[in-house]
């Protein structure tokens, strides 16, 4: 019953796709560094380690970066250090990843008590910066390349346990995992077959950034003297050697700095590229065009509204996706004052897009045009003072929980329009709101205004939203699947409030729903949308007696009869 979601398949299944340019750059860079790690020691090892009398030479054609105090070629040293750096980093990363992922996934197959205990202990470990943990291990094992690798590798585990546990959590709760267990697939097989493959992509992103961080920390330990020791050298050790003579020979830090940055960058780019290519939003960016979310005149001659008194008068409303697909194909209708118009259709019929365009809230990544669009006396195709529109048009959305701001109190949110646009004082607005909440039979109205949305039930939130439309005496109430997420007994309450509000202030109602039974009970007139077209407009009576002409309406009616009717 998704409403505003565009018909983009929300699938995460396997498919062929182009490699993201960032990813390609990262992979090429990493391949180059790996080649260096293999080839540099045999090719430049001699120049990098042999002591000569050419000490502290400035950069020249022969020594691209000059020489150090022992006459060793600095360029060669920077290249040769690649091997040790990469080997140590890869080892430490593998240690963190293997331990972290195994623990982070297997705990989900363990009893809840065990899982909580492990995660609790891990949460304590995560609170310490990994470098501090690494220092503890370095203090035990002493300075050295392998102790430092072990230290960084182990210190990275808690973070990876947490990340992979978090990443596995949504997968483990998916039905295909519980189904597999019910079918008798053993726990470890479930992890291998269903959990790990489905977290592979985000996991690779993490591994890449873990590699970058590990390299920085490992080189950092070498830099401060706790890691690689003479006569071996990695990037960190070279940088530390260069720091000693920073005033006399600042060029000595160039080689290791550049290599550190290139290696880190390669890993980061691979991570970023993987993330970008697995994210459908960035993936589809290549062919999108310009800004969206606009409402413009179609350019066709505007037809004057049939009834100048109508609350809503729409002619030729069209909505396009950014990719150019027409989602609403020229819909026209009127809503008389005090009338309840139902728009009914299944997912993808364009009913929510129509409703949102009427409110002047064309969703991102779509664009709307119309020949004429009059709402509550305002021409939406021309600039409309925001205050007038906010006052005259009230909206109630499908999901009560997500349409309220979780961080703000109910009173603040529901009086926003009254305070901003009607110039009411905070106190007056709150008192008025309490009165309206009471009128809509909400218990303890004063307390509600001080509560946060998560403290109220869905039905209560929807009624509160309707109450705020009473506050501004809106002329049009748009209810977009406002009761679809509610239980039937709660739905009835909300529907009754909508009717009551419409009567008490004489507001028109645009009632959007997939539920033919509800629409039939609520509305004076019904517009049936199918694939973006208004296929039929019916009076409540015609619908009640089944006098429908379009094939689709008939099918919908039959299905509704089958699925919804009690007798």
């Amino acid at each position: 019953m998704s409403s505003l979601a565009l018909p983009v398949e929300a699938s995460d299944g396997p498919r062929r796709r182009r490699l993201h340019p960032i990813l390609v750059t990262g992979i090429l860079l990493m391949a180059l560094l790996t080649a260096l790690a293999v080839l540099a020691p045999p090719l430049f090892g001699h120049a990098a380690t042999t002591l000569t009398s050419d000490s502290r030479l400035a950069p020249s054609a022969q020594h691209l970066l000059g020489t150090d105090e022992f006459g060793r070629d600095l360029f060669a040293r920077a290249l040769v250090a690649t091997r040790l750096t990469l080997v140590l980093t890869a080892t430490a990363t593998a240690l963190s990843v293997v331990i972290g992922v195994s623990v982070g996934t297997t705990i989900w197959m363990a009893p809840e008590r065990v899982r909580r205990a492990v995660l609790g202990v891990n949460a304590v470990a995560v609170a310490f910066p990994s470098l501090v943990l690494a220092l503890v291990i370095a203090a035990v094992l002493g300075a050295g390349a392998w102790p430092a690798t072990l230290a960084i590798g182990i210190a990275g585990c808690p973070a990876f346990v947490r990340l992979s546990a978090n990443m596995a959590a949504p997968i483990v709760t998916r039905d295909y995992v519980s189904t597999a267990r019910r079918l008798g697939v053993p726990g470890p097989l479930v992890i291998l077959r269903h959990v790990l493959p489905n977290m592979a992509e985000p996991m690779l992103v993490l591994v890449a950034s873990c590699f970058a961080v590990t390299m920085m920390e490992l080189s950092g330990l070498s830099f401060v003297g706790l890691g690689v020791q003479e006569p071996d050298f990695d990037f960190g050790k070279l940088l530390s050697d260069g720091l000693v003579s920073i005033y006399t020979q600042p060029s000595q830090v160039v080689g290791p700095s550049v290599m550190l940055v290139l290696t880190g960058l390669a890993a980061m780019l691979i991570g970023d590229g993987l993330a970008a290519s697995s994210n459908p939003r960035t993936r589809s960016r290549t062919r999108s065009s310009g800004p969206t979310g606009r409402l413009r005149p179609s350019g066709r001659p505007a037809v004057p509204p049939a009834d100048p008194e109508a609350t809503v008068s729409v002619r030729g409303l069209r909505v396009h996706s950014a990719a150019g697909v027409e989602l609403v194909k020229g819909v026209s209708f009127d809503v008389a004052p005090g009338e309840v118009l139902g728009i009914v259709g299944e997912s993808g019929s364009g009913k929510s897009l129509t409703a949102m365009s009427l409110a002047g809230l064309v969703p991102e990544s779509t664009d709307a045009t119309a020949d004429a669009l009059w709402v509550a006396g305002h021409d939406l195709l021309a600039p409309v003072p925001p205050a007038a529109l906010a006052r005259d048009v009230a909206l109630v959305y499908q999901d009560p929980v997500s349409s309220f701001n979780p961080a703000l109190r109910l009173g603040t949110q529901l009086t926003e329009v009254a305070r901003t646009h009607l110039g009411m004082s905070r106190g007056a607005a709150r008192r008025a709101l309490v009165d309206r909440l009471r009128r809509l039979k909400i218990t303890e109205p004063e307390r509600r205004t001080h509560q946060h949305p998560h403290e109220l039930s869905g039905g209560m939130l929807q009624r509160a939203m309707i109450a705020s439309s009473l506050l501004t005496e809106a002329r049009l109430l748009i209810a977009d699947e406002a009761t679809s997420a509610l239980d039937v007994t709660v739905q009835v309450e909300v529907l009754r409030r909508v009717v009551a509000v419409s009567r008490s202030v004489g507001a028109s109602v645009l009632f959007i729903s997939h539920d033919l039974g509800v629409v039939r009970a609520m509305c004076d007139r019904v517009l049936v949308l199918y694939r973006g077209e208004a296929v039929e407009e019916l009076s409540a009576d015609a619908l009640e007696q089944g006098r429908v002409s379009h094939r689709y309406t008939r099918r919908l009616l039959e299905a509704a009869e089958y699925v919804e009717a009690i007798r």
């Binding site: 470098l131 220092l135 950092g220 920073i246 600042p250």
Partner: protein, 323 residues
């Protein structure tokens, strides 16, 4: 059960206090274990491989390693509670004195860097998210991604070194090392915060984009309130909450970064002290400093959690359920 009239705060604070305490207890045990876990004979390792057996035994007695482990642990814990962390094996200074002298230097650059990080990355990330909303300004999107990825690949100590080369050695504008006045704090703080600024502003940008697409932002747009108010009043609190959740580790991790960065600037802080101590096998100082930095990290963590609960009351209720 449904009507919970009492405030959830006392319970929340109690849970946080318990978490803090258990983390500190873990730290005490961990730091105590440092000496016990040294491979081979700790006394021999500390005294040096060439020391005579008499010297080794003297070292053992001096460090109390000849006593039963439980007794050593009891003394260590009692010492920690009294604020007595022993003496440096090399210099004879009281460890608590070493920490008292050096802590302010580390705390200053770490806190300055955290503040810089939060302020800059929130502003930067939020602005970029707002400007690139719905595929607008795609050049800015790519520029931001590339720049932050590139700068993030620079380790603290490389940034520090390059800053020294540029501002101290070449331009001579700022001091390269040591603490010679307020100006000497600039380079270490910048070096320490550059990477985290990139990391956190990427988090902010991603979270802000997500927040701006939420249903409640559509609700706020439906109320036709100004863009600035929409962002500041309706998006910011949620953004702050998710950003703090995700970047708490980065902020606490800056204490780790400080250890390494201090080396670049010959900074007289805890970082240089602990590295020296580890290299010298000066276990009393090592323990004391790690304990101090650890407690600081845990405290930052706890403070962030409390700040989070102040911003978003949902975390109060969810406490205990999350991992």
């Amino acid at each position: 059960m449904k009507l919970q009239i009492s405030s959830p705060w006392p319970r929340f604070l109690l849970v946080k206090a318990l978490e803090w305490t258990s983390a500190v207890v873990a730290l005490v045990v961990l730091t105590f274990a440092v000496v016990q876990l040294v491979p081979g004979d700790p006394a021999r390792v500390i005294a040096g491989q060439d020391a005579s057996p008499a010297v080794v035994e003297a070292t053992r007695a001096q460090l109390g390693l000849d006593r039963p482990m439980l007794e050593q642990f009891r003394d260590y814990v009692l010492g920690v509670l009294r604020g007595d962390l022993g003496e440096s094996f090399r210099t004879g200074d009281a460890v608590s004195h070493v920490i008292a002298v050096r802590l302010p230097y580390t705390a200053t650059i770490a806190l300055a860097a955290m503040a810089l990080t939060l302020v800059i990355s929130l502003t930067l990330g939020f602005t970029v998210a707002g400007l690139t909303r719905g595929n607008r300004n795609r050049w800015l999107d790519s520029a931001f991604s590339w720049a932050t990825a590139g700068l993030q690949a620079l380790p603290h100590y490389v940034v520090g070194t390059l800053l020294v080369v540029l501002f101290a050695v070449t331009l001579g504008l700022l001091p390269a090392a040591g603490t010679t006045g307020p100006r000497s704090y600039i380079l270490p703080s910048v070096a320490l915060s550059l990477g985290p600024i990139c990391a956190v502003s990427r988090v902010v940008r991603r979270e802000a984009s997500a927040v701006l697409e939420q249903d409640y932002m559509r609700t706020a747009r439906g109320w036709r309130i100004g863009v600035v108010k929409q962002y500041a009043k309706y998006a910011m609190p949620n953004l702050l909450a998710s950003t703090l959740t995700l970047s708490g580790l980065i902020l606490a991790g800056m204490l780790g970064g400080a250890i390494i960065v201090e080396r670049v600037f010959a900074w007289p802080g805890l970082g240089n002290a602990v590295i020296e101590a580890i290299l010298n096998r000066d276990y009393a100082v090592t323990r004391g400093v790690i304990l101090t930095i650890g407690v600081m990290a845990v405290s930052v963590h706890t403070l962030i959690d409390i700040g989070l609960a102040l911003i978003d009351s949902r975390t109060l209720d969810a406490e205990g359920a999350s991992a």
